[in-house]
Symmetry: C2
Subunit: 661 residues, 2 copies
């Protein structure tokens, strides 16, 4: 529209393409497939549907997806799938046109089908998975109970084996043990993978999974199965969450998904894993894809929200510039607006690279391309937990910021932001409550720490110099040699340019993590001696959560650095370097109290970080549109009129009216 | 249920009563009236309504409210009101049973009626207000346009006076100038106070308000008035927001609300205020009640969300305590859970006192009990702007935190949190975008600063020692002598007990404000010399917003201190002192980077602040339930099953099932 825009558009389009190719990454073809398949009237975002209308629409969309190659991505070739773990994660995360569809896809093929795949025997897979893929057998993943969500080990639904009839009796002892919040249960599911305590020959073998039919062909609940409806929710109302109560429902012995535990006809229990606790966590570990996918889906919600808000902020004007000849200022030219959106944009980029790296590593392990040892696999599972927490909170915060940045227009359902925000909200809770996940990650970090340093009894083992690399704790995630080179080449303290030196930044986050984890280990050790373990861990909660967070920050930065290294386009790379600077320095700005308290930054230096964030906002502002275009989200999915030219059109008619008057 | 609970309940009830009396405060009778009137089937929170059902329900509720004393509170006795400004604010803020009703009440009697009252002549009030109060004339407040919301001075709807016919022609020149987001417009409004540029005799006199009929008795739009519907929104779907477009609509000369500007038959314009800019801001200033009420309403949303989450967290158990004999731990016994809810609870208390103080001061000015000079009135208006921003962001953040703290249950509409969160969201945008309001406040602080210190050209005027009190900038808001006494008696630095010394805390926040505002003044002055005023102000945005925020923090603390001083009950007072400590120290914790950078706290001291917040969480945990009960929100309004015993019942049946098995 004006002269200042033209150059951005010319150079921006090419750079956006280069960025998009980099972001699309290894599964670019899958992303394009989803872009191609999810279009047209059936998939257009629709605002203002009633819950029933929304559920029906999403069910129709799911049926349409079932006719594509998407459902097969994650399943083995033997049952008609593509055996492509990464593709299944990436396809899921792209379904932002309606996040209810995203979640419904995740429930059917990720959780329900994924549980049969991960926990079932070969025979069970061959029997059930073709129907699951084709959506002939719509199902649920019935793990959470009303009384126990986070503490899965204490689920209370029971499955008692009766050798006489060769059946299990699945039973809900009381309301606290009913299955709750179960997606696909209230309306569409015909079967459920039910997690229940397996009891046989008078012994409780802990939580196992059984495939239990819940509805007949006509959709009526089967005898003994009571199905409730969770009713309207804050978001995701296209997903039919429900409650399942089992009143002594009998299922055959073959209903037990038998990979990690089975019961012989006479009731004898056997498992390839002897230790019940290890068995349980191995079973849960196979379900890691859910967490990974949720983090990816949250990332796409953040991208979509930013695409809407940045486009609007780039077009919308408010207040005149003093001495500016009456021309009104674009929102994105205000520093306050930049500071709301651009650090969030930078973090969205950073998390994208971390997500991509995690998906690739899990894929290579699952497919056997680069199998991992158990320790490395456990590390990835912990990382998935931490990344899920950080990514979903980030997405929620970003969607909210974008809503506010669009003012009243951002509150209207037509502009997509309300739905994105409300939908992504529960991503912080499902597939593991974020706080609980961070605690898990912190415990894993402490275990690594103990493994590396042994018992902390003697004071000698816990003294560290700043900057010292603890190989045992800090496991570099990608591009190991590149990162080590950068760290080694980092300037010493006090260099004026160091704030934007990548090696310095890497070392700063690394040092923070080492110090935080080591300090936590010392603290728990000390406190553990004085009082009970619970009190010690509870008193240190803030420290615990912090250790997990700073670990994720460091891992994410390393993935970002590795991602930039893969970028062949010079212009795109220059831009990414700044985005990465903004990512790190806005993190440091947020946490500068810690850096000051621990004398990692002087007061002067901390103020310089603030100024650097300001400067980066200004430098990136002209490229904001390019950066969101690079996400490659079709206009059809964004759908928000304010992001698709409505504001520009209004300004033109206003200009016309003003010049006439 | 257990021994540990019994003592809390015995002492808690009495303390909760004492606290409630203090919180109910000066307009306790009004609060009780609303508690009495808003009950029963008609007012019960209802989840899952369609937009049309919700609008109809709220319209019925509004009609019921119209039959009570509530609408009259804010109007003068001459037109049948009570002339009780404070009562109108307090009644509004209590309507949390459905925030759509709260907003609809605010639109009809606060904004629409309030504009006629504030901007109309005596004759206009006498003519219209009785019908407004009785809801015979349902109306809208049509200020915001699609193209201009925050920048009200640039509204573009026109009102041209024609001496020939003695009428104004109200006109919308183009889509950017249509009235947008207008409450009561899409369905119910019959008239609107329309803000338009008044033009007569070839001269534009700026924005004025006219009373324009928009629908006939049958509810059909009048000729020339096009009424659109904003459709579904993130929340508040019981409010019928719409769009108004005027196509050369003629209204009589008497339609102009004439208190601050009128047009004679021949088209001569006159006003009691000569300066157009001062006139405009005087007109806006009379509308301050909207902002104040919104802050209060947001506060009640935060209270309701906390009441639900604290009650649930006090009952809900998850994970066993190692060595705890299998008993599961209550959520609120986890430090991480305490840290999510208790600082938010403390801030909610603090803001309640600040809100009460502001309402009382405005009331006393309006009713003439303690009239203010223009400077003091302007200060209150600025404070209202800042408090609105801080209170609404706090409420939004708190509602979200409470939702997450209740896990999946918090995501279900039945448990109220989704609606509270979604409704209060737009409170951060309407009645002034929060960021814009903080900028307004900061400008006012800078003006005060300039007034107090004159031109900043000479370096000599801008040198300050830490701790020096700038009387010109820091105007104590309440209990002036009490606060000065506390500050004077504060211990010096380094005293081990100082973190909980009120005088030290007051001085800390005061010092931060002085330093921040003085630094901002210097910075703008310096930058203003170097470049343009816009660039200078824009570059300093972060500093600008920060100045406003730290000002509000200090004002809120002083109000809290004054509030505690009014508390006659020793037990309640002891509790409040801790709540106040938690309020201040969690603020300091959040902002400890600043205190470190500016050498107000040492690293050791800053860590002690973290520990003090932890300790206060632990000390307040047993009283959390008491503190939320003291809000005096009837169970009927909370309505959430998880807050009303459902969780306890489930645990009892679970205990029963476990002891049987």
């Amino acid at each position: 529209m004006t002269d200042t825009e033209a150059p951005r558009e010319r150079t921006g389009d090419r750079t956006a393409e280069a960025l998009r190719a980099l972001l699309d990454g290894r599964w670019a073809g899958v992303r394009d497939t989803v872009r191609e398949r999810v279009r047209g009237e059936l998939f257009a975002p629709a605002a203002g549907l009633s819950m029933e209308e929304h559920r029906a629409r999403v069910a129709d969309q799911l049926a349409a997806i079932a006719r594509t190659e998407v459902p097969g991505y994650g399943f083995p070739a033997e049952v008609g799938g593509a055996g492509d773990f990464g593709a299944s994660c990436v396809a899921f995360e792209m379904l932002v046109a309606d996040m209810s569809l995203m979640v419904k896809v995740g429930v059917q093929w990720g959780l329900f089908g994924g549980a049969i795949e991960a926990l079932g025997t070969d025979a069970q897979r061959a029997e059930h998975l073709p129907g699951v893929i084709a959506l002939d057998l719509p199902g649920c993943f019935a793990m959470t109970e009303t009384g126990h969500g986070s503490d899965v080990q204490r689920l209370r639904t029971t499955a008692d084996y009766d050798p006489g009839s060769g059946t299990f009796t699945v039973h809900t002892p009381d309301e606290a043990a009913r299955k709750d919040y179960i997606g696909n249960a209230a309306r569409d599911g015909r079967a459920a993978v039910v997690f229940a305590r397996l009891r046989t020959r008078g012994e409780d073998h802990g939580v196992h999974a059984l495939l239990v039919p819940i509805r007949d062909e006509e959709g009526r609940p089967l005898p003994g199965v009571a199905i409730g409806d969770c009713g309207p929710k804050a978001g995701l109302n296209g997903v039919d969450n429900g409650r399942l109560t089992f009143d002594r429902v009998r299922v055959p012995r073959s209903a037990l998904l038998g990979r990690y535990g089975s019961v012989a006809e006479d009731g004898t229990y056997s498992s390839p894993i002897d230790d019940p606790s290890r068995r349980f966590f191995t079973m849960l570990g196979t379900l890691v894809r859910g967490r990974v996918s949720v983090a990816g889906g949250a990332g796409t919600a953040a991208k979509a929200a930013l695409a809407v808000a940045v486009r609007y902020g780039d077009a919308r004007r408010q207040f005149t510039r003093p001495g500016g000849g009456g021309e009104e200022v674009r929102l994105l030219d205000y520093r306050s607006h930049q500071r709301r959106l651009l650090p969030a944009l930078a973090r969205t980029y950073a998390l994208h690279f971390a997500q991509g790296e995690l998906v690739a590593a899990l894929h290579d392990d699952r497919t056997g391309e680069r199998p991992l040892d158990e320790h490395a696999r456990r590390e990835l599972e912990s990382r998935a937990a931490g990344l899920k927490a950080v990514a979903t909170w980030h997405a929620l915060h970003t969607a909210q910021t974008c809503r506010e940045a669009c003012g009243g227009a951002g509150y209207l359902a037509a502009n997509r932001l309300p739905q994105l925000r409300a939908d992504v909200d529960v991503f912080t809770t499902f597939e593991g409550d974020n706080t609980v996940l961070l605690q898990l990650l912190a415990k894993a970090l402490l275990t690594d720490y103990r493994d590396a340093f042994g018992d902390l009894d003697t004071a000698g083992t816990v003294r560290f110099a700043a900057g010292q690399v603890l190989e045992g704790v800090i496991e570099r995630t990608a591009a190991r040699s590149l990162i080590e080179r950068l760290v080694a080449a980092a300037p010493g303290r006090g260099d004026a340019e160091e704030l934007r030196d990548r090696g310095w930044q890497l070392r700063l986050l690394e040092d923070r993590e080492e110090h935080t984890v080591a300090g936590l280990a010392r603290r728990l050790r000390r406190a553990g001696k004085a009082g009970g373990a619970f009190a010690a861990f509870n008193d240190a909660q803030d420290h615990v959560l912090r250790a997990a967070r700073v670990h994720v920050d460091r891992v994410v930065l390393e993935a970002f650095v590795a991602g930039i290294d893969r970028c062949g386009d010079a212009e795109a790379r220059r831009l990414l370097e700044k985005v990465c600077d903004l990512y790190v320095l806005s993190l440091v700005e947020e946490d500068r109290a810690w850096f000051l308290e621990h004398e990692r930054l002087s007061g002067t230096r901390a103020k310089a970080v603030l100024q650097a964030v300001d400067a980066l906002c200004e430098e990136l502002r002209p490229h904001a549109r390019t950066l969101v275009d690079a996400f490659g989200l079709p206009d059809e999915w964004l759908a928000a009129p304010i992001a698709l030219g409505a504001e520009e059109e209004r300004q033109e008619t206003q200009m016309g009216a003003l010049s006439e008057s």
